[in-house]
């Protein structure tokens, strides 16, 4: 079966440094694939390349067979490849619900002018967004805080809001940037269940993470980067037993690797 998202010989050079060097792999539809690697391995850069926030020095990224690298980021988003942000960026002064409603911008049918004049299509859009937003709020368990102003939220909820914003765009592939960072065990377990349920919605999920137990639990497949290069790819069990991976993580606590 063809890959829904494919990274082909992707390279990104900054000055004299290859942040990402000749990386290739594919993502299957409705798969949960994690990209891991020590700090500085190039995971963030890879992410930005896939979501088209950076232009590759060479190589390409294709989505459903079509090239999406080298396109403006909002076009990649419109095609269905959407990323969430590590620095929990949200619209600080709006409520949670409004944040999600705004994010529906991508799926609006009315034109900008229509919104200005409040045409019928615009009003229909708005009504539909409200319904969709409520559904997403419910799905992520954010309904209780729907009316809270975003800047007052604690970290865990901010992270969920970031994902909610991503979901509002009705993506096909969702790129999650360290979704489990800074969470304790319980929170992580809940988040793991949530990411799994994303797959049930029909999404393909690509995530970057440091939290090994979570990664091992949730991933169908894992890609390991080190110094910008892919050093391993496979199922969680294969990765855990891969000598190159262990070597790359040498000096790191055993628990971290989940052995």
């Amino acid at each position: 079966m063809a890959y829904i998202l494919e990274v082909k010989a992707l390279t990104k050079r900054f000055g004299g440094l290859n942040a990402v060097n000749n990386v290739s792999f594919g993502v299957n539809e409705r798969e949960i694939l994690s990209v891991i690697g020590p700090n500085g391995a190039g995971k963030s850069t890879l992410f930005k390349l896939i979501s088209s926030f950076l232009i590759p020095t060479s190589g390409e990224v294709t989505f459903k067979g079509e090239r999406i690298s080298n396109l403006a980021p909002h076009i990649a988003a419109r095609m269905g490849v959407v990323r969430t942000f590590q620095e929990t960026t949200i619209f600080r002064n709006m409520t949670v619900r409004d944040n999600i409603i705004i994010a529906h911008h991508l799926r609006s049918k009315a034109s900008l002018l229509g919104y200005f004049f409040g045409t019928r299509i615009a009003k229909q859009d708005e009504a539909g967004f409200g319904v969709s937003a409520d559904e997403i709020l419910d799905f992520l368990g954010l309904s209780p805080i729907a009316g809270e102003v975003a800047k007052n939220l604690p970290h865990g909820h901010l992270r969920a809001l970031g994902i909610a914003i991503g979901l509002a765009t009705r993506p096909t592939v969702l790129l999650l940037d360290e979704p489990f960072a800074g969470m304790n065990h319980d929170e992580t377990m809940k988040a793991v269940a949530m990411v799994r349920s994303l797959r049930d919605r029909g999404l393909t999920v690509l995530l970057v993470e440091h939290d090994m137990p979570a990664v091992m639990k949730i991933s169908d497949r894992i890609v390991v980067l080190n110094f910008g290069e892919k050093i391993a790819e496979g199922s969680p069990t294969e990765i855990q037993n891969n000598p190159r991976v262990i070597e790359a993580y040498l000096g790191v606590e055993d628990e971290e690797i989940g052995l």
């Binding site: 979501s51 926030f53 403006a72 980021p73 909002h74 988003a77 419109r78 959407v82 990323r83 969430t84 942000f85 960026t89 949200i90 619209f91 600080r92 709006m94 409004d98 705004i102 994010a103 911008h105 991508l106 609006s108 900008l112 919104y115 200005f116 409040g118 615009a122 708005e126 914003i165 991503g166 509002a168 765009t169």
Partner: protein, 323 residues
């Protein structure tokens, strides 16, 4: 605000501008106030444009360029081609909008001070162009521009020929005030609609806006085009009112003033530029009595105001709310 309060506020405003002011001027006999207030109205339109560029996260110190451009377009069209002023008004605006798209495409991706500095230079460039190009008649400018003719729609005369009026100043005041009202009504609607929210998202985080599918470059150009359109219109009416235009009609100082009007009123408020223009312009005029100390007192007051209310006059509103 609730809908009732809003309707009340709007009615009061319209009453004040269109009825009370003329009545007051009539009774006190201060006919010169017509010119002053016309200027305030027109300048506030230009400032509103600058405010809109702030709204998408750019510091625009180049509005004077478009005011000058709009003024010249109107003047040339009236003098050389005999067009009615009322036609030249939208044409001037659209000309400026198109020019701003061409200029904006390369520079709008600049941020912060870099963008500001480029726009500062823009005003100078326009002035130099006006001096150099033959069509603008160089340093002597275009003078003796006839007053606007009648404006009639489908045979109905909406506005009589200005030359037939006893005091065209009053007519100019009404035109300027009407344009100002339309401008700010439109701005208010824009800011509170979905577009406004998207623009705010642009201000807060451009990457996030991109990721929800906002075409940032496109939105910026549109906002800048609208802003320049407003500048052009303001300039065109100004030139009609003063019946002349020179390369020095709008200078860097004016561009800076438009920006200052926005800051003083409060960048976070749609009506900031209106209030800011009123205060700064009226303040400057009132201080005329102080003779050579005018600039000193004016700038000192501005500094004090900045120290007390760094977020603009309308930021008092949020303080009031807390009380």
């Amino acid at each position: 605000m609730s809908k009732k309060t809003r309707t009340l506020a709007v009615s009061l405003f319209l009453l004040a501008v269109f009825v009370l002011v003329p009545a007051l001027i009539g009774t006190t006999g201060r006919k010169d106030f017509y010119y002053t207030l016309t200027s305030v109205a027109l300048l506030s339109i230009a400032s509103a444009g600058v405010w809109l560029t702030f709204f998408i996260g750019r510091i625009n110190i180049g509005q004077g360029a478009y005011a000058l451009m709009g003024g010249y377009v109107s003047a040339v069209l009236v003098m050389t081609y005999g067009l009615s002023f009322w036609w030249t008004l939208p044409i001037a605006g659209i000309f400026c909008a198109i020019a701003s798209v061409i200029i904006g495409l390369p520079i709008l991706r600049l941020r912060g001070v870099y963008f500001a500095m480029v726009t500062l230079v823009l005003t100078e460039v326009t002035r130099l162009l006006a001096l150099a190009l033959p069509i603008t008649s160089g340093a002597k400018g275009i003078t003796s521009i006839p007053l606007p003719g009648a404006l009639s729609l489908f045979g109905v005369t909406l506005i009589p020929d200005f030359a037939t009026m006893e005091n065209p100043r009053i007519a100019f005041y009404y035109v300027a005030a009407a344009l100002m009202t339309l401008c700010f009504a439109g701005l208010y609607r824009l800011v509170n609609s979905r577009i406004g929210h998207i623009c705010m998202s642009l201000q807060q985080n451009e990457e996030l806006a991109s990721s929800i599918g906002v075409n940032i470059a496109y939105l910026r150009v549109i906002a800048y085009a609208i802003s320049s359109f407003l500048g052009g219109i303001s300039g065109a009416v100004f030139v009609a009112a003063t019946q002349s235009v020179y390369p020095s009609s709008f200078t860097v100082t004016d561009s800076v003033n438009f920006m200052l009007n926005c800051f003083l009123g409060g960048l976070g408020y749609v009506f900031g530029p209106m209030l800011g223009t009123l205060v700064l312009y009226f303040g400057w005029n009132l201080l005329f009595e102080t003779g050579k100390f005018q600039l000193l007192i004016y700038s000192s007051l501005m500094i004090i105001l900045m120290l007390l209310l760094p977020n603009g006059i309308l930021s008092l509103r949020s303080l009031w709310k807390k009380v």
